[in-house]
């Protein structure tokens, strides 16, 4: 506990504020409660969120806000893993426990599986992980290889990025690319050109964490451009609205990348509410917050839209769920305003 607080803040998960000019987080200056009604009836698909770091409260709020399905990409859990077993446990939680937990709240959970760029730099471990990846990427509900790509843009990162592109090609799975925080523009271009070099169809590749600097090139080359609405960064949802106004809805998608950092699992519904109030047509909003993600990742053959479109509420009392996160027959929604907890 002798570390300085600042040491802990220099390693954010998906975004880094390079020039230290914090935008006021956009979700603070509008009252969410006042905007909720604007998105009544919308369904949302968050194609990038790390639920392993989130609580059941988040699941409850997400379900209430209209999020019906999520994709959880395999990524860094905040500190390096020291052995193959922790990778196995982590991947297993993505296809197992986390999926089950989410189902208890009526949210369909998919994932992408990959060796993340940060940990690609540990060559011995990376080799071992590559050996077990085939046992994971073919599993049910695995909708892609991801999130892979560059962090520090080292040679090892490139090596395992290329190997995993080949794996995705062989398994006929989409690829989800994590673009680096530092030197983002170059890293993004490099990721795309390597993917093309390996013969991947750009419409099978989703490039995550875009900004104004990268979006045009990503779309021009035929890739999907995903945007992460993450507070305290340069990509707030006000600017997201401008991007949609400028580039339209084709191949653009929004995600929260909510994880163990200061992040917001309601980033998509909040952005949608903002778009509604800015007069963006509903069909455009639906595309960037729902349909495009499905279109891109359904290429895996692993997404059954009926699983989350039919409005069949989850039944946590079903007998096979007998022992669940809902201990002793709790209900998935309880009155958090009540003093009694019973």
């Amino acid at each position: 506990m002798c570390e300085k607080q600042s040491d802990l803040t220099t390693n954010p998960s998906h975004f880094e504020n390079q020039n230290k000019t914090n935008d006021t987080p956009t979700h603070m200056d509008l009252q969410w409660d006042e905007y909720k009604d604007k998105i009544k009836g919308f369904k949302f698909f968050d194609p990038h969120i790390h639920m392993v770091s989130r609580t059941t409260d988040d699941y409850q709020n997400m379900a209430q806000a209209g999020i019906v399905a999520v994709i959880e990409p395999a990524f860094w859990v905040g500190q390096p893993r020291t052995g193959l077993s922790s990778f196995k446990d982590y991947y297993s939680s993505l296809v197992g426990w986390e999926r089950f937990r989410s189902s208890q709240f009526g949210i369909k959970h998919y994932c992408t599986i990959g060796l993340n760029s940060r940990e690609a730099n540990n060559e011995r471990l990376a080799e071992e992980v590559m050996e077990i990846l085939p046992l994971y990427i073919y599993k049910e509900g695995v909708v892609g290889v991801g999130e892979i790509g560059f962090d520090d843009q080292t040679e090892l990162e490139e090596k395992y990025y290329r190997l995993q592109l080949e794996l995705a090609k062989e398994a006929k799975l989409p690829v989800q690319i994590h673009t680096p925080h530092r030197d983002k523009k170059r890293g993004t271009e490099r990721s795309m050109s390597i993917a093309i070099e390996h013969g991947l169809d750009p419409s099978w590749v989703i490039v995550d964490h875009n900004n104004e600097e990268t979006v045009k090139s990503v779309l021009d080359q035929g890739f999907y451009a995903a945007f992460t609405i993450y507070p305290f960064t340069k990509m707030g949802n006000k600017r997201m609205v401008s991007i949609v106004e400028q580039y339209g809805a084709e191949r653009i998608m929004i995600n929260s990348s909510a994880d163990w950092g200061i992040s917001d699992p309601l980033a998509i519904p909040k952005t949608a509410a903002l778009m509604v109030s800015r007069g963006i047509p509903h069909d455009v909003i639906r595309k960037v917050t729902y349909e495009n993600a499905i279109e891109a990742f359904a290429k895996s053959g692993q997404i059954q839209v009926s699983d989350f479109e039919l409005n069949t509420p989850s039944d946590p009392n079903e007998k096979f769920h007998g022992n669940s996160v809902l201990r002793g027959g709790q209900l998935p929604k309880w009155n958090q305003n009540s003093l009694y907890i019973d």
Binding site: K88, G96, Y138, G301, K319, G322, N323
Partner: protein, 283 residues
């Protein structure tokens, strides 16, 4: 060399799968363990999850494995267990390593298939710790795969683990009648656990599944008479029937006497209208 039961599964798969599904199943090289393992994982990409609804002949698929049944499984589960049955001819160490890897990397449905396959795998002592662990699983399907319609616990579980399985089944509100060998492995220690379970439930204002009492009948002493008296006072008809069943089956005078004070159901019990199986939640 361990017995492979693979030949029992093949006709059933062939009978139900489509031509293209069968083509995929036939295309897997059966002598290549890695191909079998990947096929085990990939199966849902090539097979439907149609549920097997078979006549009685398949309720006990393998004649010298009583209790092992595949009814209500889906094809993916059946084909996965078939793939595993093809692995058993590997040398012991290799087989253990492959199965352990599959366990370590398994998702829920794969775990279900793995636990379902335990009765047909050799070296049961090797899988025992995983099986007893599965009883503690928070995932309902996994629990069901080991606890219900599976003869492995009956043959391999030590008493403590067996009792844990029965208690957990009751706690999870699942039908104890689906536990293979339930009455054969009934025991005194289980009844001690059940009595405290009953008291705990009642103090929380909750019910006890009525068919649970059948496990207590042989072990009830005078000291527990008050429990059955309480049971007679229940608002639920099935509780009162259970109390009557206890009294009609008990060898103790005090219980028999208590039974005569509640004359309605003993008559119907005698006529065969009620027995424990009719009180179970058979779903």
């Amino acid at each position: 060399m361990p017995t492979s039961y693979s030949s029992y599964f093949y006709p059933l798969l062939k009978k139900h799968t489509t031509e293209s599904e069968m083509k995929w199943l036939d295309s897997i090289p059966k002598d290549n363990p890695n191909a079998l393992m990947t096929a085990f994982v990939k199966a849902p990409r090539f097979l439907s999850k149609t549920i097997i609804q078979e006549e009685l002949e398949y309720q006990n698929l393998i004649p010298n494995l009583p209790g092992f049944q595949v009814n209500h499984w889906n094809f993916v589960r059946l084909s996965r267990v078939w793939f595993l049955s093809l692995l058993v001819t590997l040398p012991k160490d290799e087989l253990i390593e492959k199965i352990e890897t599959l366990f370590d990397t398994a998702e829920l449905n794969e775990l279900v298939a793995l636990f379902s396959s335990l009765p047909i795998l050799p070296y049961p002592q090797v899988w025992l710790p995983r099986a007893t662990d599965a009883v503690r699983s928070n995932m309902g399907f996994v629990f069901d795969a080991i606890a219900l319609h599976n003869p492995f616990p009956y043959h391999e579980f030590p008493e403590l683990a067996w009792n844990q399985l029965v208690l957990k089944t009751i706690f999870n509100e699942k039908p104890i009648q689906m536990i293979y060998g339930l009455l054969e492995r009934n025991n005194q220690n289980l009844s001690i656990g059940l009595v405290s379970f009953v008291k705990e439930r009642w103090s929380a204002g909750r019910d006890v599944p009525p068919d649970v009492w059948q496990l207590l009948v042989p072990y009830l002493s005078e000291g527990e008479l008050y429990l059955v008296e309480t049971l007679f006072k229940s608002q639920r008809k099935e509780d009162v029937i259970a109390a009557s069943l206890i009294c009609s089956q008990s060898e103790l005078n005090s219980y028999q006497l208590l039974g005569t004070k509640h004359p309605k159901f003993p008559e119907e019990i005698k006529n065969g209208k009620w027995d424990w199986s009719k009180l179970g939640n058979n779903h």
